[in-house]
């Protein structure tokens, strides 16, 4: 377990060091931050290697119970656990984190806030590692939310810009909304299972009532939907692109948003016991998948295109989970981490060179930035799902799982599986279209900005090259019979029931269907061809303008933001104003009024003090008479 402790603590210490010394010694910030990420990566390579080697013979797993915190009811256990899934995801996190740290050195050169920025990235890395390795739901929640707050600060890195402020607030509030549901889900699951320990809850999953499991998983899903930016809580992610580009790569593409998917995979047997939740997941995934892809089609900001594509790709992972293949989901998670990190860093390189985020101001960069062009093309191809790039295999695995669930018996209702299959295929065509548009508008035609563009510095170039390798090749890992599925060795459902898997034969291979493969390639090419045809007619024009009246709907992402503004933001503001009114006008007035009233009543009594002795005496005698009468009548 030592590598796990190191992987969590090294970036954490780097963050602490960064916060306390960074301001005074800016020179130390770079080595501290980079070495934190590097040590974490090196540390997790060891369990990953063990998982890979153990894959052939059985399941790899190790856990440690460090302490337990009494609460008065179920204790909180400080439990860590490493297995194939955790190790592989941790490697992905480590790689991306290191790449971002190195890349940021150049990207944020001369930025006075670099030290706090690097410290937040380190803290984020530590939190993500904690999420990955936690074996207790509440410990996991700690990492989960610390990631959230790091994301808040990093999105708000340019805090003097209003849109950065707005997006930071939005991202934090929206994800926290989901997290509250997540917390309640933890309660439901933990109390029902008798422990907050993940491995325990997973083991108990089959014994819990379906009602409880459904409620628990639906609540947990709230957190997943928030963190992984799925409909209806997806709105924060496109706005989060106001942060520096490496942050978009790290948090909003490769790692943090994947945490939701990872969590479902971690608790997968629990989710498998709740078919209703799986169906809900399928619907959410389909809506998000297609909607986000369509929205990406009309965005003008290159990072917003990528952001919507992230939302869309995350929906694929959720869909894979819905149709019963956690392995496919994690597979897509890993490939997506690689190619999306690559894409964001490449986009950052482009933005750094051109000085703008807007596609309409780019163009013709193919010559000036050959490395960026080549690596970005690899990433885009992987995103589209063209063979032999990684995205193809993982997406096919998802579609294959859907096909299997639709045709044969799956954990989810077959209509949901069919929905996933059809929408998944459709989305491939749309994906190809927006990818093509992005590719053409960025790199082809003549340059539209007047700036002399040149290739980025080596510190920015090398991470691109390094990331391009897995983006291109990672797909093959899923192919081999004893490879990725065995490394992960996830509990899945085989036709006939839930498996606590046979240790001797731990996983089933990914299914890649011939029909879906052919269909998806044809659809991808179709999308490509359509955009190409439009573009050839007028290379300098945005192809999406051909959408005409549809375009505003797509550009505004179907006005979901406006809807939320009307549904939630304004009523809350109204409520807040009415609370202020109540506080001043009712509660405060009641308190002040009781004082005034007391004075006023006292004033009435003052009036009785007229100074006339006869009046007093009249009152006195009348009182005596009344008392006498009272005594007589009462006794």
């Amino acid at each position: 377990m030592t590598p796990v402790y190191v992987a969590v603590l090294a970036p954490f210490l780097a963050a602490v060091a960064g916060f306390f010394t960074g301001g005074r010694r800016p020179r130390t910030a770079v080595p501290v931050a980079v070495s934190g990420a590097a040590v974490a990566l090196l540390a997790v390579l060891w369990p990953a290697a063990q998982a890979v080697t153990a894959g052939a013979t059985g399941r790899y797993g190790d856990s440690a119970h460090l302490a337990s915190v009494p609460t008065g009811t179920l204790p909180i256990g400080v439990d860590l656990r490493v297995d194939g899934l955790a190790a592989l995801v941790a490697v992905a996190v480590g790689v991306v984190a290191l790449a971002v740290q190195v890349y940021s050195v150049a990207y944020l050169k001369g930025d006075p806030r670099y030290s706090s920025y690097a410290a937040f990235v380190s803290l984020f890395t530590a939190a993500m590692m904690l999420v990955v390795f936690a074996d207790d739901l509440l410990v996991l929640l700690v990492g989960w939310e610390v990631m959230g707050v790091c994301s808040y600060f990093l999105i708000g890195h340019h805090w003097e810009q209003p849109d950065a402020q707005r997006s930071a607030v939005k991202a934090f509030v929206v994800t926290r909304l989901g997290d509250v549901g997540f917390l309640f889900g933890i309660f439901t699951l933990g109390v029902a299972a008798g422990s907050f320990r993940i491995s325990h809850a997973v083991g108990e999953a089959g014994r819990l009532s379906e009602h409880t499991v459904t409620v628990a998983t639906l609540l947990l899903l709230c957190g997943v939907v928030g963190k992984s930016a799925q409909f209806p809580l997806h709105v924060w992610l496109p706005d989060a692109m106001a942060g520096p580009t490496p942050i978009s790569a790290l948090i909003h593409a490769a790692t943090m948003v994947a945490a939701g998917i990872y969590l479902v995979a971690r608790l997968y047997p629990v989710f498998l016991a709740a078919p209703v939740t799986l169906a809900v997941m399928a619907v959410i995934a389909c809506v998000t998948m297609l909607g986000a892809a369509l929205a990406a089609l009309a965005q003008d900001d290159i990072k917003r295109v990528l952001a919507y594509s992230t939302v869309s790709q995350l929906a694929y992972m959720l869909a894979a989970l819905a149709v019963g293949s956690a392995t496919a989901a994690v597979f897509h998670l890993l490939t997506h981490a690689a190619f999306k990190a690559l894409l964001f860093l490449a986009a950052g390189s482009v933005i750094h060179a051109v000085g703008t985020n807007l596609l309409r101001d780019m163009g013709g960069l193919r010559k000036a930035m050959p490395v960026t062009f080549a690596t970005m093309t690899v990433g885009l191809a992987a995103l589209t799902g063209l063979p032999p790039f990684s995205g193809y295999f993982s997406k096919e695995a998802v579609l294959g799982a859907a096909e299997e669930a639709a045709l044969h018996e799956g954990p989810v209702a077959s209509w949901a599986a069919w929905l996933v299959l059809v929408v998944g295929l459709l989305t491939i065509a749309v994906t190809a279209a927006y990818v093509t548009r992005l590719w053409l508008m960025t790199f082809f035609d003549a340059p539209r900005s007047g700036i002399a563009v040149h290739e980025s510095s080596p510190a920015m170039r090398w991470p691109l090259v390094v990331l391009a390798v897995p983006a291109a090749l990672l797909g093959f890992a899923g192919l081999g019979h004893g490879w990725l599925p065995h490394w992960l060795s996830l509990d899945e459902r085989v036709p006939g029931g839930i498996t606590p898997l046979d240790p001797a034969f731990p996983a089933r291979p990914l299914h890649i269907g011939a029909v879906t493969s052919v269909l998806s390639i044809v659809l991808a090419l179709g999308g490509f061809a359509a955009v190409l045809a439009v573009w050839r007619r007028a290379p300098s024009r945005d192809p999406s303008l051909r959408l005409q009246r549809l375009r505003p709907a797509l550009e505004e992402a179907f006005w979901v933001d406006d809807l939320y503004d009307r549904l939630f933001v304004r009523p809350v503001r109204l409520a807040a104003r009415s609370v202020r009114w109540t506080d001043d006008g009712v509660i405060g007035a009641a308190v002040a009024g009781s004082g005034t009233e007391a004075t006023r009543v006292a004033g009435l009594l003052r009036r009785a003090q007229a100074g006339n002795v006869q009046t007093y005496l009249t009152g006195l005698l009348a009182g005596v008479v009344l008392l006498a009468v009272g005594v007589v009548t009462l006794t």
Partner: protein
């Protein structure tokens, strides 16, 4: 029967005492009331008390009151200034009526049918008996009472003499306040 007549006289002239609009008349009606009460005492066989009543009350107190009226330059003849405001009069009437009601009701309730036995030779109020009681059983309170009278005498003198008045400020400078 005679007692009832005297009672009616006492109460009737008492009404005039508190309602008449002539100051001096009020004092004179008071004489009548006190005299009637003295008669009542006589009928109740309290002779000594009756004579003391006539001597001190009718003789001394009323004269003192008349002097008081004179010294305060009371108006001669009818005056509307003798009564308080109409509201106060009503309140006073109501209170007085209530007091009367409560007293009458409780007395009637308690002593209905009780009779005073004045028959035979039992006359307890002669001067001899009264003197024996006062200088026998009640001698100590009697002495204390004399001290009280002395104190009252001194007090009255101190209060009414101008040259040793506690308030040296002459009248005219205070009239403005």
């Amino acid at each position: 029967m005679l007692f009832a007549l005297l009672g009616v006289v006492a109460v009737g002239s008492g009404v005039l005492v508190v309602t008449t609009r002539h100051l001096v008349h009020a004092a004179l009606w008071l004489v009548l009331t006190l005299g009637a009460v003295a008669g009542c005492f006589l009928l109740l066989s309290a002779e000594f008390v009756a004579w003391v009543q006539v001597l001190i009350y009718v003789g001394a107190v009323v004269v003192l009151l008349l002097f008081g009226l004179m010294l305060t330059r009371a108006p001669i003849g009818a005056s509307d200034e003798l009564d308080s405001s109409r509201g106060q009069q009503v309140a006073a009437a109501v209170t007085a009526a209530a007091v009367a009601g409560v007293l009458v009701a409780s007395l009637v309730d308690s002593f209905r049918g009780a009779r005073i036995d004045l028959s035979g030779d039992h006359v307890a109020g002669s001067a001899r008996q009264a003197g024996e009681a006062i200088f026998g059983s009640w001698v100590l309170p009697f002495e204390v009472l004399s001290l009280l009278l002395l104190a009252a005498l001194v007090g009255a003198i101190v209060l009414s003499r101008r040259d040793i008045s506690p308030d040296p400020v002459p009248l005219d400078t205070r009239s403005g306040d």
